[in-house]
C-alpha cells in the first residue's frame, strides 16, 4: 500500500525580506498521515520557518517551482484558508498566541473560527482545559498565568479544535518534566484515537526518541530523515551540528575516554546496562 502523506513539500525555498540567504533551502519533506514527526536542528536552522510555510502563514519564494500539498491539496492563495482550518499550531512563545480576555475565551477562539455550534463549543473548551489541568483557571486572564500555565492553555486551544495536523513549536519547553510527559501523553492519545498527525519541534531528546520519524534540519536544508534510533546512531553528525545524543551514548563514550572499553555494537540503554552488570558480576 502506498503510504499517504498528509504534508508534502517539494523544492520549497523561502528567503526573509532583506536576508542574504534563504531560511529554508530547496526542502523536500513528506510527512505520513497519522505519524509523529520531530524536527530537530540548532537555533536559527529554519524549523519554525518550515512550520509557517506548512500553515501558509508565509509563501515560498518561487510558487512555480515549489509546491506544498496538505492532504493532497495544493496550498495556494485560494486554498490556504480552508487548509489552515485543518492545522493547529502552538507557537514557540505562547504570548503570540493569546487573543481571548479569559483562558476559556481563548480556548474557544479556534472553535468559533471554525463555526462550531455553541453547546459543542462549551463542552470542548471544558474538556480541553480539564485535559491540560487548567480547569481552575477558566476565568483567568491569559497574561496573568505562569509560563508553564500559558503553554498548557495554548495546547488546550489546539486540542479543543481536533485539527488533522498538530504542530508543536517548542510547546512544552517551559513545563516541568512530569508535566511535559503528561501533556505529551494526552496529545499522543488523541493522535492515536483520531489518527492525527503531529509535527513537533523540540530539543528534548526523550520526546524525539518517542517519535515515528525525525527530520534533522541544518541551515534550511534537510540533513537526515529517518527513525529515531537510526538518526541517533549518527552520533558524529549530531555532535558536529551541536545536537544531543542519547545519554547511553554519552556514557559509552565517557567510559571509553576513561579507559573502560565498551563494545561499539551496543545500541540501546538496556544493552549498555546489561553489559555493565555482566562485566561487574564476572569480576
Amino acid at each position: 500500500m502506498v503510504q499517504e502523506n498528509i504534508v508534502s513539500m517539494r523544492n520549497v525555498t523561502f528567503t526573509y525580506r532583506e536576508a542574504s540567504k534563504p531560511a529554508v533551502d530547496n526542502l523536500n519533506l513528506d510527512i505520513p498521515k497519522g505519524s509523529w514527526v520531530s524536527i530537530i536542528g540548532h537555533n536559527g536552522s529554519g524549523k519554525s520557518t518550515i512550520t509557517r510555510l506548512i500553515d501558509g502563514l508565509i509563501a515560498s519564494d518561487n510558487l512555480e517551482k515549489s509546491k506544498i500539498f496538505i492532504d493532497g491539496v495544493e496550498l495556494t492563495p485560494e486554498t490556504v484558508w480552508d487548509l489552515r482550518k485543518q492545522i493547529g499550531i502552538v507557537f514557540q512563545n505562547p504570548d503570540n498566541q493569546f487573543v481571548g480576555a479569559t483562558v476559556a475565551d481563548d480556548v474557544a477562539f479556534g472553535l468559533e473560527n471554525r463555526g462550531i455550534a455553541r453547546p459543542e463549543m462549551v463542552k470542548r473548551v471544558a474538556q480541553a482545559l480539564k485535559d491540560v489541568g487548567m480547569d481552575d483557571y477558566a476565568k483567568t486572564e491569559p497574561s496573568n498565568l505562569s509560563g508553564g500555565q500559558k503553554q498548557r492553555v495554548a495546547i488546550a486551544g489546539i486540542l479543543a479544535v481536533h485539527p488533522q495536523i498538530i504542530i508543536l513549536d517548542e510547546a512544552t519547553s517551559m513545563l516541568d518534566p512530569e508535566g511535559r510527559d503528561e501533556i505529551l501523553h494526552i496529545v499522543r492519545e488523541m493522535q492515536k484515537r483520531d489518527h492525527l498527525t503531529v509535527i513537533s519541534i523540540t530539543h528534548d531528546i526523550n520526546a524525539v526518541n518517542n517519535s515515528d520519524l525525525v527530520a534533522v534540519v541544518d541551515d534550511g536544508k534537510l540533513l537526515a530523515y529517518d527513525q529515531p534510533d537510526k538518526i541517533f546512531s549518527h552520533t558524529k553528525l549530531l555532535r558536529e551540528i551541536g545536537l544531543d545524543v542519547p545519554f547511553f551514548y554519552q556514557v559509552r563514550d565517557s567510559l571509553e575516554a576513561a579507559g573502560v572499553s565498551v563494545p561499539s555494537s551496543i545500541s540501546s540503554e538496556e544493552e549498555l546496562v546489561n553489559y555493565l552488570c555482566q562485566l561487574n558480576s564476572k569480576m
Binding site: 519554525s48 512563545n93 504570548d95 517551559m174 516541568d176 508535566g179 545536537l243 546496562v273 546489561n274 569480576m283
Partner: protein, 286 residues
C-alpha cells in the same frame, strides 16, 4: 553580604475576586557569589520570587535585603535604578524584554542606561553578542526578526552586558539548542566564578546537578526545601512525593542498581557516573 528573604508573602490582585497567592511566607538566605538553582512545578511561584530580587514586585508582607537595599511593601519606586543595575533579571519570555530597532542597540541599551558612554556601550554590546554565540552579521538586524533561540540569546546578552553583581535568570535555556544550552550554562558558571551571584530557574535537573551549589525548591508559593544538590537528590522518596525528577546520571545509576550493580557513591553527573563505574571495574580487576 548575603541576600535574605524574611517571611515574604506576595498576593496578586489582593481583595479582588481574582486574588491569587504568589508567595507564602518565604524565608531564606543565600550567599553572595553562589550559584543557586530555583526549581519547582508549573505555577509554584518561581517567577514571582524572581521578580522580587530587583523589586519588580514588592512583598505584600515581609522584607528582603539585597545588595545594600531593604525592600518591603513601603519601598518607593524612586531610587531603584542603582538596585536594578546591581540586580538584573532575564525574563522567562525574552521577547517581552526586547524593544530596540536593532540587535546592537538592544544589547547596548542597558550599559547606556547605567552610565556607560555611547562608544563603550557599543563595544560591550559587540563583546556580549559574541559571548552568547551570535555573530556580528545579526548586529544590525531587528531583534524581532530572529528565531526564538536567537532572541533569547540577545535578551541574555542585554542583561549581562552591564555586568550586574547579581544575575537572575528565569529559564534562560528553554528553547536553546543542546550546544547553546551547554555553552550558555558554562557562561553563567564562569560569570559566577569571576565574582558574581547567579540565580537560575530551571526544570532541567542535569543543570542543577552540573552547575548549582545551592537549591531552592518551591511548591504552591512556599519554599519547601533549601539544600545542596547532593542533599536534594539523595532523598528519592521525598523527590517522588513532590513529583520532582532526578538527574539523568542518577536515573541511569538506579537502572544499574535494579540489575544488581550498586555503585559506591551517589552520582548526579556523567562525570561522577563514569568515575564510579571505573572504580567498580578497577576494583574488580585488582
Amino acid at each position: 553580604m548575603s541576600i535574605e528573604f524574611k517571611n515574604v508573602s506576595y498576593i496578586y490582585s489582593p481583595g479582588s475576586p481574582l486574588e491569587q497567592k504568589g508567595l507564602d511566607q518565604v524565608s531564606f538566605k543565600i550567599k553572595e557569589n553562589s550559584f543557586t538553582a530555583l526549581i519547582g512545578h508549573t505555577g509554584s511561584g518561581k517567577s514571582t520570587l524572581m521578580q522580587h530580587f530587583n523589586a519588580l514586585l514588592k512583598p505584600t508582607e515581609g522584607e528582603i535585603t539585597i545588595a545594600g537595599y531593604t525592600i518591603n511593601k513601603d519601598t518607593s519606586n524612586k531610587n531603584l535604578k542603582q538596585l536594578r543595575k546591581n540586580v538584573s533579571l532575564v525574563f522567562q519570555f525574552p521577547e517581552s524584554q526586547l524593544f530596540e530597532n536593532t540587535v546592537l542597540a538592544d544589547i547596548a541599551f542597558g550599559p547606556k542606561n547605567f552610565g556607560y558612554s555611547e562608544d563603550e556601550a557599543k563595544e560591550l554590546a559587540l563583546k556580549w553578542l559574541k559571548k552568547v554565540g551570535l555573530d556580528e552579521t545579526v548586529a544590525e538586524r531587528s531583534p524581532f526578526e530572529l528565531s526564538g533561540g536567537q532572541m533569547r540569546r540577545i535578551a541574555i546578552a542585554g542583561v549581562m552586558a552591564y555586568e550586574p553583581a547579581i544575575l537572575c535568570l528565569d529559564e534562560p535555556a528553554a528553547g536553546l539548542d543542546p550546544r547553546g544550552r551547554k555553552e550558555m550554562l558554562e557562561l553563567f558558571k564562569e560569570y559566577q566564578e569571576s565574582g558574581h551571584t547567579v540565580i537560575l530557574v530551571t526544570h532541567n535537573m542535569d543543570d542543577v546537578a552540573d552547575y548549582a551549589d545551592d537549591v531552592l525548591v518551591m511548591e504552591g508559593g512556599k519554599l519547601i526545601k533549601h539544600a545542596t544538590p547532593k542533599e536534594v537528590f539523595a532523598d528519592a522518596s521525598w523527590l517522588t512525593a513532590h513529583h520532582l525528577g532526578s538527574p539523568t546520571a542518577a536515573k541511569f545509576a538506579q537502572k544499574l542498581a535494579q540489575k544488581g550493580l550498586q555503585l559506591d557513591d551517589e552520582v548526579l553527573t556523567l562525570n561522577e557516573l563514569t568515575q564510579a563505574l571505573k572504580a567498580k571495574m578497577k576494583a574488580g580487576e585488582a
